[in-house]
Each structure stands twice: as C-alpha cells, then as structure tokens.
C-alpha cells in the first residue's frame, strides 16, 4: 500500500483568486485578499446563497486571473461544508464546464488539488479549477445553534471562516508546480468533543505528514514551509507533539492557516476553521509567496473533521483526514 503520489509532468498553478468576509479582511492576511466583502450576505437573501456566490466569484476570478476563458477550463473540482455540498454545486450551476463535487470537510481543498493534479498529470484534462468555500453563518446553523442564540463558546472552539479560494491548475503556463502529494486516511483517536476540532484532526495530520516523509524519503528540513489547514493553536501543538514522538521535528517550519488568519485580539480562541480557511489563506497569501519565490518548497496538508450533526448526536467520535500536496515554486 502506498499513498504518496508523484506528478511527473508537474501541473502548474497558473492563477488564483480569493474572496473573504468582513472578519477575515480585518485579520492578519486581510489586505492580501483579492475581493473583500463588507457584507457577509453578499447581497443575497440567505447565507447559503451568499456562500455559493462567494465560491462562484472566486472561481470566475481565478479563471480570469489565470488568463483563461471559461471554455478553456475542462473541470471544476469544488466542495464545501454544507449538506450535499450545495454551495459548490450551486456555484457550478453557473458554468458550462465539467464538475466534480468533492467532500472531505476542511481537507477538501488539498483533495481537489490532488485530484485535479492527477487528472492533468495523466493528460486527461488541460485546465482544472480547484476551489472550496465556507461561511460562518451557514456552517453555524448546520452544525451548532442559531446565530442569535445567546450561548458561550468554550476556549478550545474555532471560528468558521467566511470566504473562498479558487485556483486554476494547468498543464501549461507559469506558476508554482504541484509535484505530488499524499492521500490521507481516516484517522480516529476517539475525540468526541465537537468543539475541539483541532484535537480531533491533529492525529490525521500527523499520520499524513509521517506517511509522506516515510514514503517520499523526505524530511521536514526538505521543506521551507509545512502548512496545515485549520488545526488551530491547540491542534498545531498536538501535531508537533505527535510528530516529535515519531522522530520528526516540524517546529521550525510549521504554519497553520487557521492560526494565522485572525488577529489574536479578535479572541477567536484557537483560530479559524472551515473548508474556506485553507483555500483562502493559500490563495490570498501563500500563493504570492510561492510566486515571488519567498517560499521554495511547501508541503500543504489541509485537515478535515468528518463528522455530521447526526453522527455526533449518536455518540460517535470524530474521524478526521488530511491530504497533503507538495508544491514547488
């Protein structure tokens, strides 16, 4: 069994776009976000429609920024957190391209890059769009309580990111190369606290990174940056502990998207989460670093907690997954 793949033809990321909500725009990477929203409903009637529009806008702009036309794009690979991934499908309704809906919760973004990369590397498609979105208000009402309910958040909680990121990968053009990746496996250490996603996802991230190092023969030192999706402050600490136990030290070059998206003063406890978290941070901030060669080699592992309100209601623990992709400038 081998879960690490290498792309011989190294598809390139030729264009990105990011859309962020008001809170995200006030955060650490706020001024790098391409389209800044002042209204988290984006002029729509419901939060679900707003999320769809956010994703649609990101995809449309990514295609434009990549210097492509809609007709050049063969397939859109997208996903989000809502039931039946409605944000992604309703966004894809506006395009005449092919569509593959993906879901591994917040790990969907790297799953889409892995899948899209494989399709391009194999020569099956020429241009593919990878995109994910999430919306605080739509996620909150699906997973937790109504927005206006006066309840407190425990200190280990995270805040679902409102925003989307989309990128175009292509077999031609200039941009960072996707050189391969590691397909995640579902890992469950028995965490049942739905407010502590970081703790549920850290073992999955550790498993994927460890497998990647073993199977690719690389070490953390081979990468300038090891990025995880939305572990938050607590999850990041647990990840470092778990990898340390296996003999790998990622202390120096590990960055978590959830940890850097908000200012500490915003009191979002452990940081951001959601399918849009990793895509927004990558497309708004990290992509530029890769383009300017500030980062040369990056391992990007988005993490997802694969629970639903039904499974946690039935007393199930929280399985998690992490997919990793390696990207070189």
């Amino acid at each position: 069994m081998k879960r690490t793949v290498f792309f011989k033809n190294a598809p390139r990321i030729v264009g990105v776009s990011s859309v962020g909500g008001p809170k995200e725009c006030a955060g650490c990477i706020g001024d790098r976000i391409e389209i800044k929203l002042s209204d988290d409903k984006f002029g729509e009637k419901s939060f679900e429609q707003a999320e769809s529009k956010i994703l649609y806008t990101a995809i449309k702009n990514a295609i434009h920024n990549a210097g492509r036309k809609e007709a050049d794009v063969d397939v859109i690979l997208a996903g989000d957190l809502l039931n039946q991934i409605i944000s992604a499908t309703f966004a894809a309704r506006n395009f005449s391209t092919g569509y593959l809906g993906l879901y591994t919760a917040c790990a969907t973004f790297t799953q889409s890059i892995l899948t899209g990369g494989a399709l391009i590397d194999g020569g099956y498609v020429k241009n593919a769009v990878c995109a994910t979105s999430s919306h605080f208000s739509s996620a909150e009402r699906q997973y937790r309580y109504p927005l206006e309910l006066g309840s407190t958040r425990p200190p280990q909680a995270q805040w679902t990111v409102t925003g989307a990121g989309a990128l175009v990968i292509s077999n031609k053009g200039k941009g960072p190369k996707v050189t391969g990746g590691t397909i995640g496996r579902v890992v469950d250490y028995g965490v049942t606290d739905v407010n502590n996603m970081g703790a549920a996802m850290a073992p999955a991230a550790a498993d994927t990174l460890y497998t990647h190092f073993i199977e690719s023969g690389k070490t953390p030192e081979n990468y300038d940056m090891i990025v995880t999706g939305d572990l938050g402050a607590l999850g990041s600490r647990l990840l470092k502990d778990l990898l340390w136990e296996k003999g790998y030290d990622v202390n120096k070059n590990h960055v978590d998207c959830g940890e850097i998206i908000y200012n500490i003063s915003e009191k979002e406890f452990q940081g951001g989460s959601g399918a849009g978290c990793s895509s927004l941070v990558f497309c708004a901030y990290l992509y530029e670093k890769l383009l300017n060669k500030k980062i040369d080699k990056m391992l990007f592992a988005a993490t997802g907690a694969l629970l639903s309100s039904v499974s946690s209601g039935q007393g199930e623990s929280i399985p998690a997954i992490a997919h990793a992709v390696s990207i070189e400038a």
């Binding site: 419901s46 927005l147 469950d188």
Partner: protein, 153 residues
C-alpha cells in the same frame, strides 16, 4: 465494524485534556452571577411597577411580569443584542425567562429563509423543545408526588 469505543486512544485523550485550555470558572461564575442578577432585578422592578401602577397582584401579576420579560428577551434577540449578552454572561442570561424567549426566537428568525411553515414554525422549538418537554414531565412527576404525600399523610 469499528465503533467509537474501539477508536479511543487513552494516551492521546489524556494529552488533549492536559493541553486543552480550561474555562475560567471564576470569571464565568462572576459574569453569570451579575448579569443573571441584573436581569432578575429588572424583573423585580417591573413587578413593582405593575403592582403599584396597574394594581395587579398574585398570579395575574406574575403572568404580566413574565410576558414583559419574554417580550424584552425576544426584542433584544431581534435586535441582535441578546446573543452578545449570552456570549458574555453564559448561564446568567440562559437561565432567566429572557433566555427562554431567546431560545425560541433565535431559531424562528434563523429558519425564516425556509418559509414560515417549514422554517419558522417547524424549527421554532428546536432549542426550547427539550426544556418544555422535561419541564412538563417534571411538573407532572412533582404533582404526583405531592398528590400521594397529601393523600397519605
């Protein structure tokens, strides 16, 4: 098939509980105490006004005060203020009757997008439903105990 029990990794879970930040109990208790107390004082104030100005008393007075507080709770929920009070005060704003109003109005508002019948009306009691069910069940039980003791002794 693995079940949730088979997945439990004791070592890891104890590491998590060691590293996870704890809720500041003293601060939570203090906030709940003063906000909850303040809400109840407002209720007491309304009670005084109603009994002095309107000349109400007994059950009628209690009902009027409850109605006034429920209105206040619902109104503040509609304005988007109550969730902020709740975020700060926790139990202090959940336990009084204003919290009950909040738990009914907030899902009603939230699910308006799914229509008035299948949204607002159907989802209105998603949060408050259990409180009503157990409240009624408990009152029946207490009533039975009271009845038995009253008859026996």
């Amino acid at each position: 098939m693995k079940t949730a029990k088979d997945c439990v990794n004791e070592n890891y879970l104890s590491l998590v509980s060691m590293t996870a930040p704890k809720t500041d109990e003293k601060r939570s208790l203090f906030r709940a105490f003063w906000v909850g107390g303040a809400i109840c004082s407002v209720g007491q104030g309304i009670r005084l006004i109603f009994s002095e100005v309107l000349g109400l008393s007994g059950d009628e007075l209690a009902a009027y005060v409850s109605v006034a507080l429920i209105f206040l709770g619902s109104f503040l929920t509609g304005l988007g203020v109550y969730d902020r009070i709740g975020k700060y005060a926790g139990g202090g704003s959940i336990v009084p009757i204003t919290g009950f109003a909040n738990s009914v109005v907030s899902p009603a508002m939230e699910f308006k997008t799914e229509g008035y019948v299948y949204g607002t009306a159907a989802k209105m009691f998603t949060v408050a439903g259990p409180i009503i069910v157990f409240g009624v069940a408990a009152s029946v039980l207490v009533g039975l105990i009271y009845f038995v003791i009253y008859r026996v002794f």
